[in-house]
């Protein structure tokens, strides 16, 4: 029998009577990338949190190199050799790279710490990973991808045997993904074990050695990556066969112009942006990280000062200076970052979903009619198939996909004409993605204009009528459905003219 680095045996965990994990087992061998898959709410995060010492299992045990291990906290887990790179990074932005790497285990004498020694050591670690990051620079000045690399450096600095990565590629560009995979390759050669959580099929099949699939808190099975096709994988995850990643398009003719932008400029980030979207049309917005896609959506929604340019909504010129104006003009904005600008996690599903349209459920403009509000919220829960115990459940306790649906439902209750959606399927499992795609298509068929920002090119190609591609704050070009291909989009996104570019 082969040597095993990490063994997870029969882990069971329930939260106030609800079973989140039911006797889940898997193991990681040295030099292996073990991918963990499952829909949102399948129990992946809970399982990782148990391994990492944030939660404690009700039953079962975890063995590290054959010895039973019980991590009391993430710091404890780290000392024992398990490091976790979270999906939502939590570096201290105002500290230097070196300080972040050695956070909690600073070098020094007594209460003083030795900044120079720390920077030296940090430099060594970064060098080992072939990273060109200065250890003295503040985290705030780094891009998301670089910050993630620093997290990885942190894991390496404690000689981690197991590194858990939770959707590490959700916020970084194609090129950076390559760099990350390079580093993972190196780790494997050194005999480390990687637990990798992701929803992106192409990635998974590139780096996985074995795949364990979770569904509804149970392990469906562990498979060798080469023995599975994408379709089989999806079928096992959702418990049904899915013919296609995308719902069939609904045939309809786009109507009159809903949104028109001309010569829009914002200091430093946007230059001379012109575009238009017709009713019933889905316009995709492609580009690399930092190309200015989110910034464009923010500018349209009144969250950035517009220096120049004009915006017409349904043929009328409008000046939108704050989100309030945008909402009144019939715009909706599903933002990129759920935790930061999306949800109020301190409240219930009901209260979060109804906040935007509360006025409609009121008598005398202020007094809420519980009946009307409940009816609207229940409608939202039903149409978007939100999995929640009840409308009074805490919205922060839902899985990522369901949280996203609550946000979409909140906007849809406002019956907007134009929807700006920034990465609407980020961090969402295949099943929920499919549902979001159907919702987007249905909305378009109902005559809504949709601007969809996405980093997943198949998604843009599968859904959009047209795709505008941004590069360094400008729109480099627009592609019609016939012209769309991953290669064409990439070429424009990389700032290249012409069509002679290969993706890899």
């Amino acid at each position: 029998m082969e040597h095993r680095l990490l063994e997870v045996e029969g882990i069971t965990k329930s939260f106030s009577g609800v079973l989140a994990l039911d006797h889940v087992s898997f193991d990681v061998r040295p030099g292996e990338t073990h991918v963990l898959m499952g829909e949102n709410g399948a129990g992946k995060s809970t399982l990782m949190k148990i391994i990492n010492g944030i939660y404690h299992a009700d039953e079962g045990m975890i063995k590290l190199e054959g010895k039973e291990m019980k991590a009391q906290s993430p710091m404890d887990a780290m000392e024992k050799g398990i490091s976790m790179i979270h999906q939502e990074l939590n570096n201290v932005l105002d500290m230097s790279v070196a300080e972040n790497i050695f956070l909690g285990k600073e070098y020094g004498r007594g209460i003083f710490y030795d900044r120079r020694l720390m920077q030296e050591k940090a430099g060594e670690v970064l060098k080992r990973l072939d990273l060109e990051i200065s250890p003295a620079v503040k985290m705030r000045e780094l891009s998301v991808a670089k910050r993630q690399m620093v997290e990885i450096a942190k894991a390496v600095s404690v000689n981690a045997k197991i590194i858990i990565m939770d959707e590490p590629t959700s916020a970084i560009s194609h090129k950076e993904v390559e760099a990350l995979f390079g580093i993972i390759g190196n780790f494997k050669k050194q005999g480390m074990g990687i637990v990798y959580i992701s929803h992106k099929m192409d990635e998974i099949f590139r780096i996985a050695d074995r795949i364990t699939i979770l569904r509804d808190g149970k392990s469906v099975g562990t498979y060798k990556a080469g023995h599975l096709t994408i379709d089989q994988l999806i079928a096992k995850m959702v418990g049904r066969t899915m013919e296609n990643m995308f719902p069939p398009p609904i045939e309809h003719e786009p109507g009159e112009e809903a949104l028109r932008v001309e010569g829009l400029c914002c200091e430093h980030v946007l230059e001379d942006i012109s575009l238009n979207i017709r009713k019933g049309e889905i316009l995709g917005l492609a580009g690399l990280m930092g190309a200015g896609r989110s910034e464009l959506a923010e500018a349209l929604f009144g969250m950035r000062r517009i220096k120049q340019g004009k915006v017409w909504i349904r043929g009328k010129e409008r000046e939108i200076r704050r989100p309030r104006d945008a909402v009144k003009a019939g715009l909706a904005f599903v933002t990129e970052d759920r935790a930061l600008s999306g949800l109020n996690k301190k409240t219930s599903v009901k209260k979060d979903m109804s906040i935007l349209t509360l006025g409609r459920y009121c008598r005398w403009k202020q007094v809420i009619s519980g009946r009307k509000e409940n009816a609207a919220v229940d409608r939202g829960i039903r149409t978007l198939k939100i999995k929640t115990g009840s409308r009074n459940q805490n919205v922060g306790s839902l899985s990522g996909g369901n949280q996203q649906k609550v946000i979409v439902a909140r906007w849809l209750l406002g019956e907007p004409d134009i929807l700006l959606m920034d990465e609407p399927t980020r961090g969402i499992d295949v099943g929920a993605k499919y549902e979001i795609y159907s919702i987007i298509q249905k909305l378009a068929a109902e005559g809504k204009a949709i601007l969809m920002i996405s980093s997943e090119m198949p998604e843009l190609i599968g859904l959009c009528h047209r795709v505008a591609v941004m590069h360094e704050g400008r729109i480099r070009g627009e592609l019609t459905r016939e012209e769309m291909s991953q290669e064409a989009i990439m070429a424009l996104a990389a700032g290249m003219e012409g069509d002679c570019v290969n993706r890899e």
Binding site: S16, K346, K351, I355, L358, G396
Partner: protein, 327 residues
């Protein structure tokens, strides 16, 4: 709340059920526990007179605590309550003197002064973007100075009977203070739970950016929250002046901290977005009840202060520990 009860009861698992129960209503259990303990340990405690006395004592702190609750839920904090109470108390006392009685003017002055101070706090915090801690600390100093200046540092005596009635009178055996406190509680609870404005207060305190993106008028909501807090503070100042039968510029020192403690004991989050006025009232009652019980047991005031400090930290400690279960 009732619906949540039903849900908890319906989730089979008995042990988990009990835990959730305790976590959610811990403060009410604690209140009952202390109440029973004191009733058993001291005969003088469980008497109509003493209980009325406790509720009377707790009323003003409870009103200020409810003001703090509104402010805390919106993501703010008001350190100026004590001073603003004094300022509202002395200015209204000047209109409430026995010669030239003008009760409506006295009441309106107290509430108006409180509202004005709250409005200024709100303006500085929402438009000036000064942290609430600093802005209201400034108001704490300025309002106290103003109260001293207006009165030349001497109390305003000779209040009319109606004025004193507010602080010490009874209506069919129930202290006016308690009646006012209950009215404020019902009104604030209604505002927070049943109105659009109340929901907006929770929303901006829970996640300001999300509220802003959803098109809420964050600044105006925050401004109004501070103004309402100020109005309740002014009302508290009026009642306190009536109770001590003078407008004293040095009165109500440290009230803001008692009020914040009451709110926090009652489950209001200092980081905003969570809490209820019922909790704040129970918190204020609990603290007063402990004081009273210890008085009856002849525990010195110094020990009482130590015990109060321990209670404040302990309740929040327990609250933090049980948060996981709540989810």
């Amino acid at each position: 709340m009732r619906q949540e009860w039903r849900e908890i009861v319906s989730t089979g698992n008995k042990e988990g059920q009990f835990k959730v129960y305790v976590a959610k209503y811990g403060i009410y259990f604690l209140f009952l526990l202390v109440f029973i303990l004191l009733s058993v340990s001291n005969k003088a405690f469980f008497t109509v007179n003493n209980l009325l006395n406790i509720s009377k004592q707790a009323s003003i702190v409870a009103i200020i605590a409810m003001g703090q609750t509104i402010c805390l839920i919106s993501g703010g904090m008001d350190l100026s309550s004590g001073s603003v109470m004094a300022l509202a108390g002395v200015t209204s006392a000047m209109y409430g003197l026995a010669d030239g009685t003008n009760m409506p003017a006295a009441v309106l002055t107290a509430i108006g002064v409180g509202m004005t101070c709250g409005l200024i706090n709100g303006l500085i915090v929402s438009w000036g973007k000064v942290p609430a801690f600093i802005a209201t600390l400034g108001m704490q100093q300025a309002a106290r100075g103003m109260a001293l200046l207006l009165t030349n540092a001497t109390p305003v005596f000779g209040l009319s009977e109606q004025y004193i009635f507010l602080g010490s009178g009874k209506i069919s055996g129930i202290p006016v203070l308690v009646i006012v406190m209950i009215l404020v509680m019902l009104a604030s609870a209604f505002m927070l739970n049943k109105t659009k404005f109340g929901r907006h207060i929770y929303a901006i305190g829970g996640n300001e950016l999300s509220a802003y993106v959803s098109g809420l008028n964050v600044k105006r909501t925050r401004l109004l929250a501070y103004t309402i807090t100020g109005a309740l503070t002014g009302l508290g100042g009026l009642l306190l002046a009536g109770r001590i039968q003078s407008g004293t510029p040095a009165m109500a020192e440290g009230y803001e901290l008692d009020a914040i403690a009451g709110a926090v004991i009652g489950g209001v989050s200092t980081s905003g977005g969570i809490g209820s006025v019922y909790g704040a009232v129970i918190g204020a009652l609990l603290m007063t009840m402990v004081n009273n019980g210890l008085d009856l047991l002849n525990v010195s005031a110094y020990y009482q202060q130590i015990i109060k400090g321990i209670i404040i930290v302990l309740t929040v400690f327990i609250d933090v520990r049980t948060k996981d279960i709540k989810k």
